[in-house]
Point group: C2
Chain length 344, copies 2
DNA sequence: GTGAAAGCGCTAACAC
DNA sequence: GTGTTAGCGCTTTCAC
């Protein structure tokens, strides 16, 4: 397999290497006929541009870095969360001719910042996606910002003026889910909160409160239990809630793992789902469909969000645009089998 | 942030760039004193070699490609499997100054082979890790082999003469698990097989049979149910097995998801685990610890296997060694709460 | 042990 | 529209 270079293509097509370069990079100012000749030569020789040479000459690595919390430390974010994110980012990268560099990091490690800087300086990605919950950590955002790498924050709890962010409508959609439960006749709707480090998950709690108000229901602190995103915490919270003298007829959990925990407890206590108890989750991880009954949940469009983040980043480096602002990828409610009319 | 180059370091240290290069690459033939001077200059300037320049000049990308089945198509391998693999491969890469390129691919897509070749030719990783179940597909193994990229097959069902493989002792450890169940007094031990495309998972079935034999127990086809690695299939299989006139007192599932399905069914049928039914799984994914009771399982050392694969690959490219042979990373049994003495 | 020179294969800047 | 030239920042080769 002798390596085919741009010179070989130029020679075969009878043009200069610069013209080949223009065709490869889809630059303007090439006659249609010339372009075709070059494209044919490329196909004939099966030419592939050498990325190393490209990036050395252009000062662009065509690499996007995806930074997230290492799951082997916390179980947040979960493996499903990570894989979904990767999938979206990869989709965008492939479409635009980039590669993705994944970089899990341990937020509790003292050397995170140094480690991150080393990654940015050595691998030199053209842009960085910082995933939740890291996207909320000023220390990290600042460290990356100071290197000058274009940065997109993924699913941060709120915006900041300095960096672009891609979020979903956590609060609004959680309000909608709450209204949906209310519309089924539920009056005692409980909520299980998520891990406090994850601000986007915190917004779901706010949405729950909004939804109650919009449905003319009273917010009651007893109906709120504090989970930490794990199945186990969902079980513990459910147990507490179901022992109340006025137990809820619907439980809305800030993620699917905890909702699955609630189902387990209902199973054990002989409470029928959804006939006696409705259960709703958040995230739409695969578990939500695998358990019985399948969980009504909110489809967090993580893959689309990561796709958008990577796309924005790549387009920004191409046009050398400053990267400010934000966008919102709307979530949708997936009604499945764990919710139903309130018991009479 | 003005970019620091090798010339700056050479000037500050008062040596030639070649000497700096030697120090950076830990080559021999540098006096200790010279090395120290250079290292000090590097630290002072915070110099980082430019990877693009390095790989252009050396014809090494310092990239390892990890190829696996896209989870959005099949749910095998699961997200947890993928993340564990990535973790191990990343650990090795970081230690040795490499980066990891992940490349999920859709085995059912007609263009897989073309897509893979394009990946290899464009990104030019120095080596490839092909994960199970892809590592069993001759079509893919051949496609990668034909490009000349060094290849390590991860957890293939068997060896082949042409490529290095890293496996675990699936068969032996499954036999051990079966013997363990027998040692608890179980005489009716059922097995739930995994998805047939995953040969390593098939070896677990062979191990189950070995274990029965070694424990002087009769193999009985009725005690074998065919799952597909999903929680749902575990439930279906469990239902069938528990309806037998001579139901098993222990069920050994070829993965943890299916074992979790068995637990769900036992829960529903009011069968106490482990008092009336022992359940064992395979893989030790996080779910195994999160469900109640926590699942006794086999810890598949996926992370270590991927670490070994990447390490082997990197060392081979350095020494330009041909890459043949295999190695086995032993798995271990994790006894937790889902197994106990057979009912009297 | 150390250094000088010659590329690696592309893109940028500018000429035509 | 197209081509020429000069690097990008390293490693390789070979001389000393």
């Amino acid at each position: 397999m002798p390596k085919v270079t741009i010179d070989d293509v130029a020679e075969l097509a009878g043009v200069s290497i610069k013209t080949v370069s223009r065709v490869v990079n889809r630059e303007p100012n090439v006659r249609e006929l010339t372009r075709e000749k070059v494209e044919q030569a490329i196909a004939e020789l099966n030419y592939r541009p050498n990325q190393a040479a490209r990036s050395l000459a252009s000062h662009h690595s065509r690499l996007i870095g995806l930074i997230y919390d290492d799951p082997s430390v916390y179980e947040i974010p979960s493996a499903g969360y990570i894989v979904k994110m990767q999938e979206g980012a990869l989709r965008a990268c492939r479409k635009l001719g980039y590669e993705l560099l994944i970089h899990p990091c341990r937020i509790r490690d003292k050397h995170v910042v140094a480690d991150l800087k080393a990654f940015l300086e050595e691998a030199r990605p053209d842009g960085i996606i910082l995933a939740a919950p890291l996207s909320n950590m000023p220390k990290l955002v600042r460290a990356i910002g100071s290197t000058g790498s274009p940065l997109v924050r993924l699913a941060p709890g709120g915006k900041n003026g300095k960096h672009y962010s891609v979020s979903t409508n956590d609060r609004e959609i959680s309000a909608e889910m709450t209204r949906y439960l209310a519309s089924l006749g539920h009056r005692n709707i409980a909520f299980i909160t998520g891990h406090p480090s994850h601000k986007a998950v915190g917004n779901r709690f706010l949405g729950y409160q909004d939804g109650l108000e919009q449905s003319d229901l009273q917010f009651s602190p007893q109906l709120v239990a504090a989970g930490d995103n794990s199945i186990g915490s969902g079980e513990i919270c459910a147990q507490g809630l179901l022992e109340l003298t006025q137990p809820p007829t619907a439980i809305f959990a800030a993620n699917d793992d905890m909702a699955a925990g609630v189902i387990r407890v209902a199973d054990r206590l002989g409470i029928a789902v959804p006939d006696q108890l409705s259960i709703a989750g958040c995230d739409d991880i695969s578990l939500a469909q695998q358990v019985y009954p399948a969980i009504t949940t909110i489809n967090q469009p993580l893959s689309e969000m990561a796709d958008r983040a990577a796309t924005i980043l790549i387009e920004a480096t191409r046009h050398k645009e400053p990267l400010k602002g934000f966008e919102i990828v709307p979530a949708t409610i997936k009604v499945r089998d764990s919710t139903g009319p309130a018991p009479a």
